[in-house]
Amino acid sequence: MRRSLPAVLAAVLAAPPQAGAVVLKLRAGGEENVPSVKVEAGSVVLPDGKTLPREAVEEIRYAEGAPAQTALTSAPAASIEGAALLRRAAAFAKKNPGVDGIILAEGDDVTLRKDGTEVERQTFTGQILKEGLKGSWGRVASSFEDGRSRVRILKATVYEPDGRVFPLDPSKVQVTRPQAESLFFQDYRETTCQLPQLQVGSVIDWEVEVETYNPFRKDFFFPEWGFQDFAPVQDSTFRITVPEGTKLYTSATHFTGPWKGKDKADVSTKDGRTTYAWKLGDLPPIVREPDMVPYGDISPTVKASLFGSWDRIYDWLSKMYETRSTPGPELTRFTKELVKDQPTTEAKVAAIYHYVQKRVRYIAVKLGVASGWGGYDANLTWKRRYGCCIDKSLLLSAMLRAIGVKASPVLLDTNYSAAHDFKVPDIGFEHAITHITLDGKGMFLDSVGEDFRFPQLPTMDYGVKTLVVFDRKEETVPMPKPAENLSDYRYDLALSTDGAATARFSASYNGTHEGELRGYYKSLKDSELKKNFEDQVEGVSPSARLTSYRAENAQDLSKPFDLGWSCVLPDYLVSAGDLYLLKLPGLEQEFPETSLAKRRYGIEHHESFEKRWRYDVTLPPGVGVASLPKAETLEGPGETFKMGCRAGGKGLTCEADITRARRVVDVGEYSAHKAFLDKVARLTKERVFLKKGGA
């Protein structure tokens, strides 16, 4: 059979509709614009009398007044402008040797109109100095929600070092719907274009306008801007314009060092509009460091709001959450049945917590404002048996309310992100958990984690300030004491004269680490579990042979998870002449966070912890201790370590213990922290020296 290929098949994208009253989104793909539409029985009726089966239409969108989603081009940029930019870039690059790119100007200009609609203009002018940056800087993109906002790429020009200029080709602008991560279902689109002819030395100059022509609340106006970047920035500007007389509440954070005192806006009023402007210059690049604090905790940042109190946020959220966390009769009946055999309120709460964790899988369906921020009704989430963090929090709250326990959804940013700035209100939280009051005592629960035994919660929640919605208050999730997140390791080693050993290991846990391990071990098949332990003992010593193993209660949240194994280690002792070197298994620690001699930024961990090791070693006849590691006790900023060995009877015992009480190490504490951890790492490399024929 003769086979042929068609000419290049370009990506087929639905042509954006023209502005009109109603947009029909069709299941077969594409959209149609019609003046009006009726839905009757099983049909969608168009003004000309044509009908479509209801199943052919996915969505009817009322787009009256919606501007077209089109791209505009500015007039072709003059090469003279490019020459000026290139000269400016050359001078700024000279001041910043070794960087991969420089940003000449970066800005955000947000305007609130009198009618409550918003328009935001983002601008960027930068020069690529290394090939690798072409990937991340080579595309202009911004997302929008149909019916509420639109995106226009106003300018996207590439100035080449040789003087050529490539302005935006409107035919290259695409509107696409990016597929979200597998657990996320969202309803947004993206306007995007690829910048042509990029090379080292190219200056990129773009401007994008995002217009929110149909805001869901006209008083919810929360502009925010971070001034620093991973490339040096010559000028970073943030402008907020509001109708004259409109009060604007602002908060500026991290204006320290060279930017101290520059946190106050320049305020000007013209033509009935008041503009607040901040401008910083010569910002150095953020340089990545191991375990560094997040970007938002480093960069000077400004955020703003039209109101200064959280009351309006509490009112809005409470109204949604109240309804959605009210258990219906069916859910109430189910909940009471679920906990009927639990003897105490605490046990009932634990049973409900574990139920929501395990029986409702994490799926985030965010189709609009209400489901995005408000979540779905708890009764629906219970039936679907899936939901995101706020859905699960609402369901947990509803079920607890069904048994008379006070509970409230809580909003927060996890400790993987920057600390949320509470000085002015906003709704930009990334996670939701639950606050409950049990026997008069408040506590936080996070039902997104599937493996945390009541009352544990994932480490990402620790130490962050939250919004407890029903209580209308801000409260910080407490950090557990180190001993409340304890890993306790015990080894029994019996050595033979031929250098072999038998080893028995057991580990028990409390706190979040237990949950993390449970999650891992739960994911393994039984056959894979054995292989996992075979690999663990092989890591203790090559040619180790596993003789038994256990991982208890990985599937059962009501019981503590622990594990253990025993093995034969045919060549455990490392022989060096008449010496044996004995390694204490599992003790050696490494801390990449202290790899740099100096740091610019602090270190952020996610949890406190304690780890304990105990080794009971039985020596064979004819072998004695030649040398033991010295006993040591160390302290660092919020951390301790001790280690010691003692010989006695037929063997020796070694113990070690490390604790960390704090999540964050400030940069000023780094040298003490580094000295502590490097010393700990060195001490855990110690060996016990044994000697054939006795010491």
């Binding site: 290929l5 098949l9 597929q179 597998s182 690829q194 799926i363 609009g368 010496l579 990449p592």
Partner: protein
């Protein structure tokens, strides 16, 4: 205005059940219920038996939610499919599959090519969730399709819990682009969905559909099915129905004993069926090959020959090769001053690799026909086909005689000679004979040297599509171990206080060199940090003294990495006047070979080599008390030689490690495990020096 052509297509799908539609209001609220009517004045919604009207002025949008159930099947008792009904009556118990998370009870792929030579493939899956850990994998589904060539849809999807049926609806269905980050190559789409109401014991039943609106002969149409995965399968069946005048080639690989293969004459068409029952799950093993290389599978494609497949490509490419002034000018500028064909080729390779941005999209996810060279040049961006094609065009413009070839991705099903189809290939390469040697050039990323082939394209099949050898297939071999890996030379000095100072020169090759060369795109401060971290990994007390990388910006040179360090308190001290230490970077681990046996081969993408030569000056007044004896070790495909040699006041160490294969078969695993353990034991040995 476009016409509406959907009704007929939808008629074949399941009739929808009454749905919980969604009305989104301008103020952000969402109303749920069944849309009774929409008029120019309002939207009437029915919920809980009541009708409520919302003025249209408040409405942002109405989502007419489709429910993916089957008509009349509102509970398990009303299921029409007798096989499913029987399964639901007696679902499998976890104890039937003690090792597994879910079981696929039926996996049926049915591809039919119609008289119009267009293909429709459906996939019916019925699976039961046995353990909590698997509910997510069992309940979340994604189907990919190539826009313009395929359309994807869901015929039905539902979850059974006892007698209760929970149908999927639109709220957890999403259609989107997989490569929106590459606007010029944004063509691969997907439909994903999350089943509702899934827990241990749930039975999931869905059918997805891929329809192709183009003739199977005009695209490299291929269909395939794997018969084994990480969860067990009770019944897997692949059916292909084709008109008799559209011959198909088929290839079945590794089907288990007992697999049923049928060919039925249906008059005007032929139906082929491959059926496999009771397939156990794979278990995760370290260093496993990609699933596509170990699973039994069947692949089908319209019958053809390799010359025909190559001609299809070259016919499409030929018009793109018309002389282009910009391409010619670019070629001339790049090769200016280059005297030999090899020098010209290297310069053009380096130019395309560095100056044309790589958009990491394979041919199957965009197109098997490249864009015109002038278009690629103008965009200065290209995918796995377009970048090599631009090099091909530039080489021609420079007066050389390249050939264009298509290559298989090593992560896909292995190359199959008996299945001529362009659909087997993922990327292009340029073949060029210079200096009496055949060179294979793949200018995708600019951190590889010009003769290096990326590891995912080593050891794979290929097809020459243009040039004198067009239509010939070939195997792109693994790169020799000598051109992979790293040679390290260290000069060290141990002090009496146990501190160690040293300098190292690292000579990486192949993929290792490419990893190092990626530093060229980093900020200088990031590179500084990288070297500090490298040294800190040797020892917590290690301090970077200095570093440099020769040739980082020059793709025509191999890299040389120099690093110097000082480590306080490096050696362990023991009473009796002993110091013990191990050399930096000699550690070897046996992790990954802990299991006494394995089912699947060990797999690597490439060969490996590691050479180390070190000299340690010992402190004055100390003597060598112990150094390990030489080791000469070998295992399947691998060797390791190491030795310590004391010389006046110094100790010399040398090791040579090679892995010449990319696979160790399960039958050879025990010997390989022994080898790795022996290497690890050797590397764990210490050097002891004694005072006096």
């Amino acid at each position: 205005m476009r016409t509406f052509v959907l009704a007929a297509a939808l008629a074949v799908l399941a009739a929808p059940r009454a749905s919980a539609d969604l009305v989104f209001l301008n103020g952000g609220e969402e109303l749920s219920g069944s849309v009774v009517s929409v008029s120019s004045a309002d939207v009437v919604l029915q919920a809980d038996g009541k009708e409520t009207s919302t003025p249209l002025s408040k409405v942002l949008k109405v989502k007419l939610v489709r429910v993916y159930g089957l008509p009349g099947e509102t509970d398990a008792g009303r299921v029409a499919d007798p096989d499913l009904k029987a399964l639901l009556a007696a679902p499998p118990k976890p104890s039937d599959f003690p090792d597994d998370g879910y079981v696929t009870l039926r996996d049926e792929k049915d591809c039919a090519v119609g008289e119009d030579r267009r293909a429709v493939c459906t996939r019916r899956v019925v699976r039961a969730v046995l353990r909590e850990r698997a509910k997510e994998k069992a309940a979340n589904v994604r189907t990919y399709y190539l826009d313009g060539v395929e359309k994807a849809g869901i015929d039905w999807a539902r979850a059974f819990n006892g007698n209760k049926v929970s149908d999927l609806d639109d709220t957890s269905v999403e259609q989107g682009s997989e490569y929106s980050r590459y606007p010029d190559y944004d063509r691969l789409k997907s439909v994903k969905f999350a089943m509702p109401d899934v827990a241990t014991g749930t039975v999931i039943d869905y059918r997805t559909r891929l329809e192709s609106p183009v003739d199977v002969a005009t695209e490299p149409f291929m269909a395939s099915m794997s018969f084994r995965s990480f969860e067990p399968v009770v019944l897997a069946r692949f059916t292909l129905t084709t008109p008799k005048d559209v011959p198909f080639a088929v290839f079945a690989h590794g089907l288990p004993k007992g697999a049923e293969v049928k060919v039925e004459d249906l008059g005007a068409s032929v139906r082929r069926t491959w059926e496999v029952r009771d397939v156990p799950s794979f278990k995760e093993e370290d260093q496993m090959p990609p699933l596509s290389r170990i699973a039994p599978y069947v692949e089908v494609a319209p019958a053809s020959t390799w010359p025909e497949a190559a001609r299809a490509a070259s016919d499409a490419i030929a018009p793109l090769l018309a002389p282009d002034a910009a391409v010619a000018a670019q070629a001339a500028a790049v090769v200016k001053g280059k005297k030999t064909p090899a020098a010209k080729a290297e310069a053009l390779y380096d130019w395309v690799a560095a100056k044309v941005k790589y958009e990491s999209v394979t041919m199957g996810s965009y197109s098997f026909v490249p864009k015109a060279p002038g278009t690629i040049l103008a965009a200065k961006a290209g995918d796995a086909l377009d970048k090599p094609f631009l090099l091909f065009a530039l080489l021609r413009a420079a007066g050389l005689k390249p050939q264009l070839a298509y290559l298989k991705d090593k992560g896909d099903y292995p190359f199959e000679q008996t299945l001529p189809s362009l659909g087997q290939f993922s990327a292009a390469a340029v073949l060029l004979d210079v200096g009496g040697k055949r060179r294979v050039l793949v200018p995708l990323e600019d951190n590889h040297r010009w003769l290096d082939v990326p590891e995912w394209l080593q050891g794979v099949g290929g097809l020459v599509v243009t040039g004198p050898e067009a239509g010939k297939t070939f195997v792109q071999p693994l790169t020799a171990a000598a051109r992979e890996g790293e040679s390290d030379r260290l000069s060290l000095s141990l002090s009496a206080d146990g501190s160690l100072t040293g300098s190292a020169t690292l000579l990486p090759q192949g993929a290792d060199q490419a990893s190092w060369r990626a530093l060229k795109d980093w900020k200088r401060q990031d590179v500084d940090h990288e070297f500090e971290q490298l040294v800190h990994e040797i020892h917590p007390q290690a301090r970077l003294v200095k570093y440099s990388v020769d040739g980082l910006e020059d793709p025509t040179r191999d890299l040389r990495v120099h690093v110097s360090f000082a480590i306080k308190d490096y050696a362990l001290t023991a009473s009796g006047g002993y110091m013990a230490f191990r050399l930096p970077w000699v550690e070897a681990s046996a992790e990954g070979v802990g299991a006494p046996s394995r089912e699947q081969p060990l797999f690597w993408w490439k060969r490996a080599r590691e050479d180390k030569d070190m000299t340690v000056r010992l402190p004055r007044g100390w003597r060598l008390y112990y150094a390990p004896p030489p080791a000469v070790l070998s295992g399947p495909g691998s060797t390791y030689h190491a030795s310590y040699e004391p010389r006046a006041g110094t100790l010399r160490y040398s090791s040579r490690s090679r892995r010449e294969d990319d696979t160790v078969l399960p039958g050879d695993y025990a010997r390989y495990k022994e080898f790795r353990e022996a290497v690890a034991r050797y590397a764990q040995r210490w050097i002891v020096v004694k005072k006096g």
